[in-house]
């Protein structure tokens, strides 16, 4: 799976769960903070972790289970890629 | 650097303007509500130390009512009779005994280098009390306010209590006293708890004298409290303290009078008169007779009306104190006019 594919899945999930087609507009750019732009609240973060683990068959260690590590599109994709998620 | 200095300069200017505003407002408020320093244990002790009174008045905040009596006697006797009131906020006989033991006794017993008493003129003692003083220390309202005996302490008393009981609402009153002493010229500090500023501003704005009408709910509260006092009279530690007071003064051959002071008529129901006040009066009269001390009960028999009392329904207003003094000196306390002899 390419990075673009993973990105598409992530955006689709955000649209499906939270933004109903407005996710791209809400995010702005892939470096922007989800927290600052109101893309995901704390509950959404929990749902995101479960989604990423289930969808990309990765394990998110407790060590890294905090919002700062998943606070932008690029951070999420970097983590997933680094933990073998591109093979989902 | 200049940006930083600009920042500090601005900050200091804001602070300066803020405090200048407080000071200016304080001064302006004093034109509407003048400072009215109340006699407290500390100031009374200082007065005692500087003088040589012939009459000592010990009591709660109501002992302040006898300052007018003292002035009247001083004028009448051309200074032969000198009255010193020592008012202990919140009352209670145990607190009078504490103040006697720790603050007054050293002055009574102080001697010169030749061994003579430094202040030999004391002849009479008035113990000014009421039923409340015989109830336990904890009895009263659940919210502790400014009026507490901790204000009679010195630093060593406060520190000892602090070590024993940590900082609490009771001993904090000592700190509030110290704080007030640091700002004697500030009405904003001195008025805390008295609400004279609010009343004064209200009267000033409406151009009417403050109303003497009393709050009906407060009257009900006082009536209920006095009626209920019957259940709590004559707490042993309070009565023991009273014994100690009288024994000490009698031991020094002083003429002792036990005086039950006036209450606002509107707060005294017939039930209160028949129960709490009667029980207290009868028992204290019996004790006075037993101890050979004079007993005067003017709780309900003084000429004071409700209008003579402050909005707190408890303390007598200055004009009322003058009338009370004149009446008492013409009657039950007339013996004090001869106190110089």
């Amino acid at each position: 799976m390419t990075r673009a594919d993973m990105r598409r899945l992530l955006i689709d999930w955000l649209d499906d769960k939270y933004h109903f087609g407005d996710a791209e507009a809400k995010i702005g750019d892939d470096e922007a903070s989800f927290l600052d732009r109101g893309v995901l609240d704390s509950l959404g973060f929990v749902a995101l972790v479960v989604y990423l683990e289930d969808k990309f068959r990765i394990k998110i260690e407790l060590k890294l289970l905090n919002r700062e590590n998943f606070d932008s599109v690029n951070k999420i994709l970097d983590y997933v890629t680094a933990h073998g998620g591109g093979n989902a | 650097m200049s940006g930083m200095l600009g920042g500090w300069r601005n900050l200091l200017l804001v602070g300066f303007c803020a405090f200048a505003t407080v000071a200016a407002t304080d001064a302006a408020l004093q034109t509407v509500v003048p400072l009215n320093p109340l006699l407290e244990v500390d100031s009374a002790i200082l007065q005692y130390a500087a003088g040589d009174p012939t009459v000592l008045v010990v009591g709660s905040s109501h002992a302040r009512s006898f300052v007018a009596l003292g002035r009247a006697l001083y004028e009448r006797t051309h200074g032969e009779v000198r009255v010193q009131s020592v008012p202990v906020e919140w009352g209670k006989l145990t607190n009078y005994a504490w103040v006697l033991e720790n603050r007054i006794k050293p002055l009574i017993e102080a001697r010169t280098s030749s061994g003579a008493l430094r202040r030999p003129s004391l002849r009479h003692v008035l113990i000014v009390t009421e039923w409340w003083d015989s109830t336990s220390q904890g009895n009263g309202t659940s919210s502790i306010t400014m009026g507490l005996p901790a204000r009679a302490w010195r630093w060593r008393d406060f520190l000892a209590d602090l070590c024993a009981n940590n900082l609490n609402n009771y001993n904090r009153n000592f700190l509030q006293k110290i704080w007030r002493e640091l700002w004697p010229k500030s009405i904003l500090v001195q008025d805390r708890g008295h609400d004279r500023i609010i009343e004064g501003l209200r009267a000033s704005i409406s151009r009417k004298a403050p109303s003497s009408a009393k709050d009906p709910k407060s009257i009900e509260f006082w009536q209920a409290m006095i009626e209920g006092g019957e259940q709590s009279l004559f707490e042993p530690s309070q009565m023991k303290a009273f014994d100690e007071l009288v024994s000490y003064f009698k031991g020094r051959d002083l003429d002792v009078t036990l005086l039950l002071y006036p209450r606002m008529p509107g707060t005294l129901t017939q039930k209160a008169k028949d129960t709490t006040l009667r029980q207290f009066s009868q028992r204290m009269r019996a004790i006075a007779q037993e101890k050979g001390i004079r007993f005067v009960d003017i709780t309900a028999s003084s000429p004071l009306t409700d209008d003579d009392f402050a909005p707190d329904l408890d303390h007598v207003l200055p004009d009322g104190n003058e009338r009370l003094a004149a009446w008492a000196l013409a009657g039950d306390l007339s013996f004090l006019a001869g106190a110089a002899q």
Binding site: D16, K17, Y18, F20, G21, D41, S42, L43, F45, V46, A47, V49, V50, E53, I60, L62, K63, L64, L65, N66 | M4, G7, W8, N10, L11, L13, V14, G15, F16, C17, A18, F19, A20, T21, V22, T25, D26, S143, I144, T145, M146, L162, N166, L167, N169, R172, L175, Q176, W179, L188, V189, D191, R192, G193, I197, I198, K217
Partner: protein
């Protein structure tokens, strides 16, 4: 000692001066500042309960030692067999250290409750007074310092944060006196590093710190302390005597009192922290503007709720247990914990359970609504509409208000009586007293305070900040005069100090 007591007017300037006159550079500057803060905190604590300083010292010593041990034994770089053994050892030490911290809290706060409750159960079964009921004086701030230290231990165990190796810095971090009485609950990663450097005195820290303190003081000493004896306490101590209308007013007054007491304290704590160059976390963000319960809990007691979220909810619902993905169940667990944290009584348990269930219900509703949104975009627009927002606001605030009945009531029966009274079933007809200038002022204060966050409010605040310096100074001076005239005399404790 209390922020609103006269003694603080002497204590704080003394500590402030000593803090800033020390060495200006490097380790000695940092150590001087941390030492002054620690000494001040010990003195502050001692004015409440000097004997229980021993408990705080023991707690700090054990969490510090456990952190150092854990940090000295990372599993990275080890072969798998060694790493597995070390992981077990690390887990054991972490568990023991956390249990010790919770044990201190459990012993002092909950032992009496559990033994009393057990006795009540056994009594119902005909066995009376089987368990001795332990009643111990609650060490000041133990609910707060325990969470700070448990959070620290978990951060070190999970290797999210290195352990602190400086006992002075660590002790100051845990025991910092502004946060002792009622929080905010500080977090390791945001707060601890601040103690590793010497703090510099900056104008914005002084200006904003003083402004925060003044606002917090007004909220606590003026609004909260007036409302409590005049509108709240009489109704809650005898609800049967009051009419339904009076009880609703008392309930609204209590919400205001609770907010102003707690948020006011937090602002004073944060302001004091700023004056020492330390940034404590925000603890309240205008909760009465919330239009949903989750939003409310993101705005009320933020430090506690983020702590519960980060250390209980998130690991629970993202882990491998039966709670994985089960957000609703996670809410019930978290809010039950929150209820118990507030106090060892059934009323707090009821309060926590209510909010847990309500959050779960809201989550289920949210998921249902989102399914509608996926099918038809008009549902999205409806949710953004003003009527929807207004209804959501009313529901959210009404729910919070109603749950304050058990929160404030002395027991379940009293809570039931109050609730019955709200519905007009209490039989009382009394009206609230003292509904004059101060009551209106308190109401106006709340409206203005929240209004400054919406619409043109922020622009108005900016205009005030842009006013010439003398005018701002005079404004602050007049505010201080107002407080000196209207703040009731007589210290009262902070509500959240009892938790």
């Amino acid at each position: 000692m209390s922020f609103t007591g006269v003694e603080f007017a002497v204590f704080f300037p003394t500590v402030f001066l000593l803090y800033w006159v020390g060495p200006r550079r490097g380790a000695s500057g940092r150590n001087w500042q941390n030492a002054i803060l620690l000494l001040a905190s010990v003195a502050f604590y001692a004015t409440w309960s000097p004997r229980l300083l021993v408990v705080l010292t023991a707690a700090v010593a054990t969490s510090f030692a456990a952190g150092v041990w854990l940090d000295a034994r990372p599993t990275e770089g080890m072969d798998e067999a060694q790493a597995a053994i070390m992981r077990k050892k690390r887990k054991a030490i972490a568990v023991i250290a956390v249990i010790m911290q919770l044990g201190f809290l459990g012993l002092f706060k909950y032992a009496g409750f559990f033994s009393q409750s057990l006795n009540a159960l056994l009594d119902a079964a005909g066995i009376s007074d089987a368990m001795p009921v332990l009643r111990l004086a609650l060490p000041l701030g133990i609910s707060y310092t325990t969470l700070i230290q448990v959070g620290y231990l978990l951060e070190v165990y999970w290797e999210r944060s290195p352990a602190c190796r400086d006992p002075l810095a660590y002790s100051a971090f845990v025991a910092f006196f502004p946060q002792l009485i009622a929080g905010p609950i500080v977090r390791t990663r945001a707060m601890l590093p601040q103690y590793y450097e010497r703090r510099a005195l900056r104008t914005d820290d002084v200006a904003e710190g003083a402004a925060s303190f003044l606002l917090g003081f007004a909220m606590k000493a003026l609004v909260a302390d007036w409302l409590s004896p005049n509108l709240v306490a009489p109704a809650f101590s005898n609800p049967g005597a009051y009419s339904a209308g009076a009880l609703w007013i008392a309930l609204a007054a209590y919400a205001t009192q609770l907010f102003c007491d707690f948020a006011g304290y937090s602002l004073m704590a944060i302001g004091t922290g700023r004056l020492f160059g330390l940034t404590l976390p925000e603890n309240f963000r205008y909760p009465f503007l919330s239009k949903s319960l989750p939003e409310f809990w993101r705005r009320w007691h933020i430090s506690l709720n983020t702590w519960l979220f980060d250390y209980i909810f998130a690991p629970l619902t993202t882990g491998r247990s039966r709670f994985r993905g089960r957000v609703g169940a996670g809410f019930v667990v978290v809010f039950l914990a929150s209820g118990l944290w507030h106090g060892p009584t059934w009323t707090f348990v009821l309060w926590g359970l209510s909010h847990g269930i309500a959050m779960a219900v809201h989550h289920a509703y949210d998921e249902w609504y989102k399914r509608r949104c996926r099918k038809d975009r008009r549902w999205v627009e409806a949710r953004r509409s003003k009527p929807y927002g207004a209804a959501a606001w009313v529901l959210t605030q009404a729910f919070f208000l109603l749950t304050l009945v058990p929160f404030r009531s002395p027991g379940l029966r009293a809570a039931a009586d109050f609730a019955a009274g709200l519905l007009g079933l209490g039989g009382g007809s009394g009206r609230v007293g003292h509904f004059g200038f101060m009551a209106l002022f308190c109401a106006a204060f709340m409206v203005v305070f929240h209004s400054l966050q919406v619409g043109r409010g922020p622009a108005l605040m900016e205009r005030f900040r842009a006013l010439p310096t003398p005018i701002r100074g005079v404004s602050y001076g007049l505010a201080m005069v107002f407080l000196l005239v209207f703040v009731p005399l007589g210290a009262s404790t902070f509500i959240y100090a009892q938790f």
